[in-house]
């Protein structure tokens, strides 16, 4: 195959101001990380609340959690983003609608939509992990807490959740890595994440393989560091006698 290799393309000018192609990768990585971490924060908070709801004895409360999970887990992510970005704003009251569509910089309104989308989508997945973690605990743990007079909130806060989170660190790690991969939906609405910048570079330079090789390396390094971070966390909070789910 007569491919013209040129590893120097990353340092070539993009033709826009002083920019070189490497800058595109850096800003792309910046967006990917910012989107993923913000989305993860929402996913963890909301997912924990929903996961707890699903384990409550009150039918109506656990039904809320179940309905949420079914809705958000079964609709494809791209469709959800489309809804958050193109459809929901059209139903906002007039001044807010114009502000969201035209007053905000496109990157900001896009960022808000993608973070909401990623956060709400991943929350459904986190919810299921939290629920599994809580349900994996022996019934005696709840009884022991109740017998000592702890109310439900304190039972979850001090007894159930600290144990549940420890045992679900491995599946949560894979959800955490997934949100980074899923963040590439951002390009649908013109937010140039790492993958979009890579495609763009490939398109402009016609040096496809170099661009995707660099992207692969960046994604790999990112994933490895995230995994090592989670491993470290798992070790740090490890206590004797608690096993983790699907322990890898």
């Amino acid at each position: 195959m007569n491919y013209h290799w040129d590893w120097g393309i990353f340092f070539k000018s993009t033709g826009i101001g002083q920019e070189i192609y490497l800058h595109w990768f850096i800003t792309g990585l910046g967006w990917t990380v910012a989107l993923s971490l913000s989305g993860w924060l929402i996913a963890m908070l909301l997912g924990t609340v929903l996961g707890v709801l699903r384990t409550l004895p009150q039918r109506s409360l656990s039904a809320i959690g179940t309905a949420y999970v079914n809705l958000f887990r079964n609709v494809p992510l791209l469709v959800q983003l489309f809804v958050w970005y193109f459809i929901v704003p059209d139903y906002l009251p007039e001044p807010i609608q114009t502000w969201f569509k035209q007053g905000l910089k496109p990157e900001i309104s896009g960022f808000i939509s993608v973070v909401a989308c990623l956060g709400l989508f991943t929350a459904a997945r986190v919810c299921e992990q939290v629920r599994t973690g809580i349900q994996a605990l022996p019934r005696g743990q709840i009884n022991a807490a109740l017998a000592l007079g702890l109310n439900p909130w304190k039972t979850y806060r001090h007894v159930l959740l600290p144990q549940a989170f420890r045992i679900i660190i491995p599946p949560l790690t894979s959800e955490f890595l997934n949100i980074f991969k899923n963040s590439s939906v951002a390009s649908l609405i013109g937010l140039m994440d790492l993958l979009a910048q890579t495609k763009q570079t490939a398109e402009f330079t016609a040096n496809l393989f170099e661009a995707f090789t660099l992207a692969t390396l960046i994604y790999f390094t990112l994933n490895m560091s995230l995994m090592l971070m989670m491993r470290w966390l798992e070790k740090r909070v490890k206590v004797p006698g608690l096993i983790s789910l699907g322990g890898k």
Binding site: I16, S187, L188, G190, F204, T205, A206
Partner: protein
């Protein structure tokens, strides 16, 4: 007339048999396999797209057929089979390079970066980058866009040009890079951007698809022009010469006009849309004087 044709055919066949032993590259491959592989697109309307079934149609497909006919003539093999291979903007260059696809005719701009990787045949279309906007928007040209939101499709030349223009002229535009043309038009339609910058012919396509084509207008001085060509492997001058000749013949014979009318000025399948896109002066010039150079090299 009849006689001269017979003579020339005889000469041609003599020539080709004489040459057969020395065939190299793509021509050799086609002769041996009896198959030519055509790279096409799935939704580059009206250049190369799937209307119904798996066979692509469009203006670029007419060009491709002209090239294939020329190859048949060159090899003296009228029964060569055509195999269609769908490509995307990401896969089209590597698939030509690694030999999967022999010739790609879609809507690929000939530029210097790509010339590093592949060779281009004579150009078959010329576009200018312009703006699609609502008739009521008050936008007449690029200068009216200062401080406004503009959408363009990611990875296109328009994107690079507008970013450059924005930077140089300090227009303070917010530039949205949408994933594909349909997405870009949606941004425009939903009011997130006041104008959509793209190749004029693609804008005409989006306009034709709109609910109410009469609401929209294509405006603005073309920022640059680009020439579309077919891609073939680099360093295979024999095959490229056949393809280039095919284009010259296609232009000279006037078949290009019939084809243009069919795809750009009449209802086209599958939905009967009419692009209503008159032939530009740029394309007329290209047809009169074929070239395999990119627009920036001219």
């Amino acid at each position: 007339m009849k006689k001269s044709l017979l003579v020339s055919l005889a000469i041609a066949s003599l020539f080709s048999t004489a040459q057969a032993a020395e065939l190299t590259g793509t021509l050799k491959k086609i002769k041996e396999s009896g198959t030519v592989v055509l790279g096409h697109r799935d939704s580059s309307i009206p250049f190369s797209y799937l209307a119904d079934g798996s066979k692509p149609v469009g203006f670029s497909v007419d060009i491709a057929n002209a090239i294939i006919d020329e190859v048949k003539k060159e090899l003296g093999l009228p029964a060569i089979k055509v195999q269609y291979n769908l490509v995307t903007s990401q896969t089209r260059i590597p698939l030509v390079q690694n030999g999967t696809v022999d010739v790609e005719c879609g809507s690929t701009t000939n530029n210097i970066e790509r010339q590093q990787q592949v060779a281009f045949t004579n150009g078959f279309f010329k576009i200018g980058t312009r703006l699609l906007t609502k008739k009521t928007s008050g936008i007449k040209d690029f200068a009216d866009l200062a401080g406004k939101n503009l959408v363009t499709t990611a990875g296109t030349t328009s994107e690079r040009q507008i970013k450059k223009l924005n930077e140089e002229k300090k227009l303070g535009m917010n530039i949205i890079s949408a994933k594909d043309h349909g997405e870009s038009f949606l941004m425009l339609e939903s009011g997130r951007a006041v104008a959509f910058m793209m190749d004029d012919v693609l804008l005409a396509g989006e306009m034709a698809k709109a609910k109410n084509p009469a609401d929209w207008a294509i405006v603005g001085t073309p920022q640059s022009s680009e020439i579309y060509g077919c891609m073939v492997r680099k360093d295979d001058p024999a095959f490229k010469a056949v393809a280039d000749r095919a284009l010259v013949n296609f232009f000279k014979s006037g078949r290009v006009n019939a084809s243009y009318t069919k795809w750009f000025q009449q209802p086209i399948p599958p939905k009967g849309l009419n692009m209503n896109f008159t032939m530009s002066e740029g394309l007329k010039a290209l047809i009169a004087k074929p070239t395999d150079k990119s627009a920036e090299q001219m």
